[in-house]
């Protein structure tokens, strides 16, 4: 009887340990933990090419406008999906869904024009200022404050400075600042705000895919990679604290209006030349 008990105990223990080992295999043997963008290089992204190179033809895709700097336009051409060769297929809703692991769930993938709460970001590849890469799957497993920014946008600069002061109060939320500009134009933003570890470049294509017409473009993304809040424009400290506090506690975050042109606090820098 005692032998049977011992066998059952050993078996139970092995099952649990094997389950833990299986689920943690990526972190234990090789892959760094994706929770921190600074260490988020995954096996898939480690082979990615460096920052996309510019091509002259890309400028025709974008409308000219005062805020659009040449570097912003020049960066829009070579997309991560083109580099990785991921096939795309149109969905019945008219949006683009990609044949990636993110399709394993039934959460719709945003793309080609507009992004909504409840959707997932399309696959992307961003290059960190410290050389790391970040893709959509690396956002899974933790909450993310994802802001698309431009280094020349004063609202973005103020938002990043503010977040640099308060982000430590919400350690369960990982900040990701995706710059639409190239590395050399984005580096001053890091120096200015102290957010170098969280700033990535190469977001122009992602921005266009999401239908972003101005920056800062704020998104809260949950552990499953689903967008829970979208906000355009600069946010003040009480608003940031309100949404980050609720989000970190797992409470529903009220969907703020996507755009409030009359409100100075929601000022948007338009980088595509469209009136936001």
């Amino acid at each position: 009887m005692k032998n049977i008990r011992a066998a059952a105990a050993v078996l139970s223990y092995l099952v649990i340990v094997c389950l833990a080992g299986y689920n943690l295999r990526g972190q234990l043997f090789g892959k760094s933990m994706p929770a921190t963008p600074t260490n988020s290089t995954s096996a898939a992204t480690a082979q990615a090419a460096p920052e996309p190179a510019s091509t002259p033809g890309a400028q025709s895709d974008l409308k000219s406008q005062p805020e659009t700097t040449p570097q912003l336009v020049a960066q829009a051409e070579t997309s991560p999906k083109e580099k990785t060769g991921l096939p795309t297929t149109p969905s019945p809703a008219g949006k683009t869904t990609k044949d990636t692991h993110s399709q394993q769930s039934f959460v719709p993938v945003a793309g080609n024009g507009a992004v909504d709460v409840g959707e997932r970001l399309p696959d992307f590849l961003l290059i960190g200022l410290n050389g790391n890469t970040l893709n959509e799957s690396a956002l899974r497993g933790h909450k993310t404050l994802f802001i698309i920014v431009s280094p020349t946008c004063p609202h973005c600069q103020r938002d990043l400075k503010l977040l640099h002061q308060i982000e430590n109060d919400y350690p369960s939320i990982e900040p990701v600042f995706a710059s639409v500009a190239q590395r050399d134009q984005t580096t001053p933003l890091a120096d200015m705000t102290g957010e170098g570890d969280h700033i990535y470049t190469g977001a122009m294509d992602l921005s266009r895919s999401l239908g972003v017409s101005g920056v800062p473009f704020v998104m809260l993304i949950d552990e499953k990679g689903v967008i829970r809040l979208i906000k355009k424009g600069e946010l003040d400290e009480p608003t940031f604290r309100d949404i980050l506090g609720k989000f970190s506690h797992g409470q529903p975050v009220a969907q703020l209006p996507k755009i409030m042109p009359s409100d100075a606090a929601f000022a948007v820098t338009n980088f595509f030349g469209e009136q936001a």
């Binding site: 833990a20 972190q27 234990l28 260490n39």
Partner: protein
Amino acid sequence: MSSKPLSATGWIILVIRILFGGLFIYTSVWHSMHAQEFLQSIKDYQIISGPLVSWSGFLFIALEAAIGVTLVFGFFVRQMALVAAALLAAFTGVIVSAIVRKLDIACGCGLGDTHVGWFDVLRDAFLIGIALLIAWRDGKTKESQTGQVAELSAAK
């Protein structure tokens, strides 16, 4: 040696021990199934970082499972109950540290999506009490059994 029928107190302690062990098994399985969230919770405490997070998470789950399985199946009860008490005391220290540092983070305990607070400290203190009770009763039972064996040997 264990032929003596259990007293009412013995039965109560047995049930408590199995429930206590079952709790550890449950949390170890939960942590295994939600490995990413669990690692993020460890990281959020800002005590360890880097590859230590993954390995400490794995070792923690293995230890949790060992405590749970041994308590449920009745092996090394006293020793593992003391290990459980020590582990819970360490958790309590870590939680208090998070509260003092005003960290707004999830507990990561596997017992619901709770955020660290004094409730967690009270809960852990309660569980430490149960672990010590199990260790004490098991030791007492062993002493009693050892005494009976000694008396029987002497009688022979």
